[in-house]
Every structure is written in structure tokens, then in C-alpha cells.
Symmetry: none
Subunit: 233 residues, 4 copies
DNA sequence: AATGAATGAGGATTCATTCAT
DNA sequence: TATGAATGAATCCTCATTCAT
């Protein structure tokens, strides 16, 4: 053990980052449940107890990791969105998103456990901070999206951000099968479950954006009625 | 304990269903991790060990639950899709999906743990059976979708099925926050995370379908090039 | 399942033997703990419950197996002892024992669990029967031994039987290492633990018999005194 | 709980010994299977989990116990063997062994489960260490035996060590009957199974040593031939 | 007599978290 | 601050045995 004391604020922040880096590194080849705090401590050359000085719980540690990844993703996306003021085609926007995503390869897997795992066993305050950060960040990107996508009505930018989030975590779960499933993918008829993340995500997001782009005025609320009529016929 | 012996095949099936019903009931107010096999046994008036005669592992039990919910969802959807042969509008299809979904209120929460939890710790054979069932069922519905959505090219029906699945599990996770998060939803600025499942799912699916509906010929593969140009400009 | 009813006494005995044969077969490649009653039932084409009609407990089943093996061993040995009336050399007797042992290859492994496992969880009556059988059988062979080994004083025949038993189970345990140990036998210096049953048993038994053969009159009880004297010197 | 932290190496060793002492204490009145880790924890005033910091598995804990007992036995024996250089009579040696054994009353019962229980469920490294220790210790005592027993040819010292081991565990199993058997010992005819450890062990070991002592030249390898001849006649 | 569904005691082990040092 | 020893809750699953059919 090093026994270096981090008395300065910047030293503490450094230490914090070392821990996060170690966790991220382990997360590349393992899962949240598969990683133990002992491993993280060892990899960051710190004592087990030290980790808990910087993070209250294991979930909080990974939530911080997620926050960083989200931040960088949003930054990357915003940067790309700010390169021009011209309207974006659905394909172009999809591209920007995918590019931004590829800078942070662990974001999808972190997003996939965000709601079901990480946000449990975290204290109010931490959650509050995280959600506030996310809200601010999402709103900023939402505005940027609304600037580049003229067809978006006010508020739809934020909705699109959430929809992207939903697609990221959903597509990730579908494209990252359990070991047993992975083995079975070669079985006849099961290749349909072999779904690589990127192309499927691209097609889905593109379709979604193109759908948003369509003027809705021509099909106002009729869907329900149509259906019922059909059902009767 | 009852000590009634289920010796006939149909009695065994009945018992099996009793167990599943008990598990589903518990799942309504708790989570996979929060439920113990002992609770399920108690609720189905059986011994702890008896459960393991019918299901090898806890995961397998819930996988079977998921299978049943998926089956009923697909049946409900197929039935609705077969009521007419006329082309469906995006809104109409969305409606059909949401209706089918509402028959099985636990489907989203089961789908949400399917890939990350259930498909782990299940043996090859069980997984194979499950995936084969899912493949067959998905393909049938895919064909039905292609019949009612003329704009779908062959194979796009299946993709749409997967996209619906992705939206279901993704939107569910976003709309079913952890207790701590739920508490914070009233905080100023955090109401944006209060996302009820149904409307958000409806809008997202509708947009997706409308996007698929658009002829793609007008924007062929140019997206990447466009973007790069923009970035340079 | 066969559902054959064994109404006749001889049919029941047959069934009993089938079960024992199945258990013995499994015991060749597995251990007492490694074998389940379900496996024995399956291998003897009977229902699990049926096994318990013939044997009250798993231990009793294997105790019966041990009894049979002991019986056959004693028979084989007695037969060989009866072929002549001439005094036996230690080597010759050792040979007879080893030959008799080799007819029943499972005897050592059964003897090795007899006192530590089998005789636990067996009811009084069964144990009584077993022990009575063993006593009678041992006494008969003891007499035969005393006939062929003139140097044995009355009662020493029985003691020799017990000593043979002790050597069988002791040498077996030493010569049948756990898997982990077996792996380690190649390590430098650990080859000394690679002790094949037969030669080690032969040498040990031979020495023991030769020791019994020696007239004890010349060294009467002095050992203790000698030692104490030495210690003082 | 005490919550004293053992941070120094010697404190940790102390704690380790406390656990071993507790286990040994329990082992006096119970069996390996009858003792639970929880009991050991309670008796050593430690948390259940703490035990597993010091010993990976229950088997490892008891293996360590066995190692200590073996060590002390070997030490005691070596000490006695070193008191003089004069040749030992069989009776004298037997005495030394029995005396050494009586210092460690639990050794026989630990030896009796060594091969059948303890050496299972222990990792390679632990087993390696244990076996290496045992090899070294046995070889040293073997040399000492060869010094005091002139009739032993090189290598026979080690063989004698193993033979003593075999007798210890074998005689122990025979002399420590299951409760049911113990009850039956008064039954007519079954008193022959009432075999106290010490005298039976003494007589057996003495005979064995005396056998080893005999010059073998007069009966060279003829035993097999003799026997066959007899069988034919 | 035969069956196999039902039973439930039984226990080692992990690991996030705490806190004495 | 840093440490790592100490903690103990938490639970799935096996399998010998029973007994309703």
C-alpha cells in the first residue's frame, strides 16, 4: 500500500479518478456484479476501506462512472451539434449520436444497469446531484437538438434525448447476450438474435427521427377510431 | 402442507401454474431479487424443495413466467392484427401494441430483467427452448406485421418486433424509477424524469413506425457524407 | 418403470440383488457421497421409493453391500485355508489373503467407510444382524487361521482377523488419494505418497504375521523398563 | 463481539490459534460433520465471516489442525528417539510411539478423516504445502527410526512411518464405534468388537516391528511357489 | 408392492460495509 | 487519511426420506 495521504483537494480528486479508472477498466471485461470492491481497491493500489472514503457505496461509485460517461457523451454530442447551424437530416443526426457514443464505449453497458441497479442503494443527496446534473445536461443538449432539427416543437428536444437514452439501453441489452445465449446463436434459427449494437441502433434511431420529422397534422388522433372501426368490421 | 400428489400430467401442469401464479403475484409488488424461493413456496402452499422439482433454478422459473407473458402478448397482438387485412396507420398499430401490452401488465418489468438477469444461470437446454419459442413466435408476428404494413420490406417485420421489444424494456426502465428517485421527482427541475410508461411509449413507437413508413429513396446513404461535409465546414 | 410386483420371496430377493448390483456398479466409479439414491433407482429400473422398501436407509444399503463383500471374502479365504492342513508360512498366508481380496475389488473401499459412515444412521436391529454375522464369520475364519498357523495362541486368530481388517482399511485410505492429492503426486518429493495398495499391503501384512510368529517369551514386558532406563541414561 | 483487530503478524497468528483451539475443543466431543463453522466462530468469539479470513474452507481449517497434531506427534517421537543411540527393541519402540501418541489424543481421529474427508475440498496449494510438510517430517522421523532400528534397510524407515500411520487410523476406526454399535457391544457374542485403542494398537505395532526385525533371507520369495504347490496338492 | 411427488432441514460461503488502529 | 481485519446478513439448492395414490 502506498499510504500517501491526499491532503490537498486536487490530490483527493486525483485519487478519486484513479479509483474510477480502475473500476472502468474492470468493467470492460466484467460486470457490475462480477466486480468486487476488493478488486477495485487492489487495482487502484489502495486499501479496501479507502474506497469507501471516496464513495459511500459500490452503486455510488458506478453511478459516478456513469455520470462521467454521460457527461463526456453529451459534451461530444453538443460539440458536434454546434459545428453548424444548418438543419440536420435524420441520418446525419444518427451519425453524430453514434460517433459521440463510440467515444465512450462503456456508456451503453452503464446505461443498461442505471435504472435497475445503480439508482438503488444510493442516498438521496447523491441521487439528487446526479439527477440534477443529468437534467441540466439533457436540457442543454435538448436545446441544441431543437436548434438543428427545425421540426421539433418545444419540449420535443428533451423527449428525443430520452428516446435516445431508451434506445441505447434497450438495444444494448438485446445485443449483449448472456454467455449461454451467445453459445446458442449458432443454432439453426437462432441467428436472428445475433444483433450487433451499432447497425441496429442506427436503423432504429434513424427511423425514430424520421418519424418525428413527419408533420402529424394529417393524422390527428384518428388512430384509435380507425382501429376500433376495423375491429368491428 | 397439503400433501396432495400431482401424479397425472394435467395435475402437474396445474401445480406448475400455481407456482407461476404465486411468483407473478409476488412480482407485482416486489422485484426478482427481492423475492425468495421460500416466499414462492409458501404462497403456493408447497414445500421449498417442491418448487425445484418444477423449476431447476429461480431464474428458470421467472424465465418461464416471461415466456408465458410473451406468448400471451404475441397472441393478443396477432389476434388484433388478424382482424382485418387493410393497411394499418402508425397510430393504429401503436394502439394495437399498447392494448396487447396492457393485457400483460408484468411484461415490461419481466422484459427489463430478461437479458441482464434471467438469461444468466439457466442451462443450455432451457435457454434453447426459450429462444426457439421466442424466435418462432416473433417470426409469426413479424409476418403479420408485414401483411398489415405494406411499407415494410421482407425482414423488416422481425426488426420491428425487436424494436418494439427494445422500446418496451427501455421505456419501462426509464419510467419505473428506484424508490429514492421516485421521492426526488417532486424536486424543482426533476419533474422531467417523471415519465409515465404509456404515453412515452406510444409517442416513441409511433414515431418509429412513421419513420419506417417513409420512403428511404430520397436520402440514400448520404447521411455520412453530409455530416462529414458539415463537420469540415 | 417395470411395475412388476415381487410377490414371491425369491422374487423379492432377486429385486434386492438387482439394487445391490446397481449400487456396487456405481460405487466402482464414484463414492458413497457421490452416489444418490435416485441414481441407484434409475440404474436398477425401479422407483426411488421402491429402494426404501428393501433398505431403510442409504447407509443400510451399502452396509448390506459390505456384508456381501465381507462374506465372499471370508468364504474365499476359508476355502483357501481349507485346501491343506500344513502350517502356513507368513508369505503364503499373505498370498491367500491378497488373492481372496482380489476377488472382491470393492471390499477395501467399503471397509474404509464402514466405521466412519455406514454404521451411522442404521437402526439397532440391522446393526445387530450385521455385527452378529460378522462375529460368526470372523470367528470361523479365526479358527481356520489358528489351524494353519500353529504359533497362534487361542484367541489370536480373531485378533489377526481384526488386524487384517485394520490393514485393509488403513492401507486403502492411504493408497486411494483425493483427486487434488493424486495430481500432486508428480511434484518433486511427493512421490513417496504414491503408495499402490497391493504391494504395501502385502509387505505390511507379511511383517505383521512374521512378528506374531516370533516367540514372545524372550522379551517379556521389559520394553517399558528398558525405555525408561534409556531415558534416564 | 470483541472487535479487537489483529493487525500485527503475531496477533494474527494468535487469532489463528484461537480458532484452531476452538475447533479442536469442539472436535473432542463431536465430529467433523457435526461441527458447524458457526459454532467454531461462536466459540472463538469471532464473526462467522472472520473464520474464512483465516481459513478458506472448513476442510482447510481441520487440515491445519491435523498438520499441527502430526507435527507435535513427530516432534514428540523424534525427541524420544534421540534420547539414546542404542538399538530399540520392538516393545520399546512401540512404547515410544504410544507415548507420543498420547500427547495428542485427537491425532487418531483426525488421521481417520484425513484421506476420506479433509483432503477433499482443499485447493492445490494448501494440499501441496501440507503434503510437503508431511513428507519432510516423515522423512526425518524415518531417518531417526533407521538409526535406532539397525535391522531396517534404507527406505524401510519411511515405510514403517506409513505403517504406523495406517495402524493408527485403522485401529482408531475399529475402536471408535458408532453410537448404535457402542450400544450393542454388551450383546452376547458382540463383546469381541469392544476393542480399546491402546492395547490393540500396541500389540499390532509390536507384531509388525518384530516381523520387520526378522531376517528375511531364510524365506526368500518362496511363499508364492509354496502356496501354489499347496493349492495343487 | 410400487411409485415418484412432496418435503424441509441443513450450512458453507461471499462480500459490501464498518471501524479500531 | 489510510488501512484491512472484522462483521453477519442473506439464501439457493440438494437429496435422503416419507407417504398419498
Amino acid at each position: 500500500m502506498m499510504q500517501r495521504r491526499a491532503r490537498q483537494v486536487h490530490q483527493k480528486e486525483e485519487r478519486r479518478q484513479e479509483i474510477l479508472a480502475a473500476a472502468l477498466e474492470l468493467f470492460k471485461t466484467s460486470s457490475f456484479q462480477g466486480i468486487t470492491m476488493a478488486e477495485i481497491a487492489q487495482k487502484s493500489h489502495l486499501g479496501k476501506g479507502t474506497i469507501f472514503i471516496y464513495f459511500n457505496t459500490k452503486e455510488q461509485l458506478f453511478l459516478t462512472l456513469a455520470e462521467q460517461e454521460f457527461l463526456e457523451f453529451f459534451e461530444a454530442l453538443d460539440e458536434r451539434l454546434s459545428l453548424s447551424k444548418a438543419p440536420l437530416s435524420p441520418g446525419a443526426l444518427t451519425n453524430l449520436v453514434v460517433e459521440s457514443l463510440e467515444c465512450r464505449p462503456q456508456l451503453p453497458s452503464l446505461a443498461a444497469i442505471l435504472h435497475t441497479v445503480l439508482e438503488h442503494n444510493v442516498d438521496r443527496l447523491t441521487t439528487l446531484k446526479f439527477k440534477e446534473f443529468l437534467a441540466n445536461r439533457a436540457l442543454r443538449t435538448a436545446r441544441n437538438l431543437e436548434h438543428r432539427l427545425p421540426f421539433l416543437s418545444p419540449g420535443q428536444g428533451l423527449e428525443l434525448v430520452f428516446q435516445i437514452h431508451v434506445l441505447v439501453l434497450g438495444v444494448w441489452q438485446v445485443s449483449d447476450p448472456a454467455p449461454v445465449v451467445k453459445d446458442l446463436l449458432k443454432a439453426p434459427g437462432l441467428h436472428i438474435f445475433d444483433i450487433p449494437f451499432r447497425p441496429f441502433f442506427e436503423r432504429s434511431l434513424m427511423a425514430l427521427i424520421r418519424g418525428l420529422e413527419q408533420p402529424r397534422s394529417f393524422q390527428p388522433q384518428r388512430s384509435l377510431f380507425e382501429e376500433q372501426t376495423e375491429a368491428q368490421g
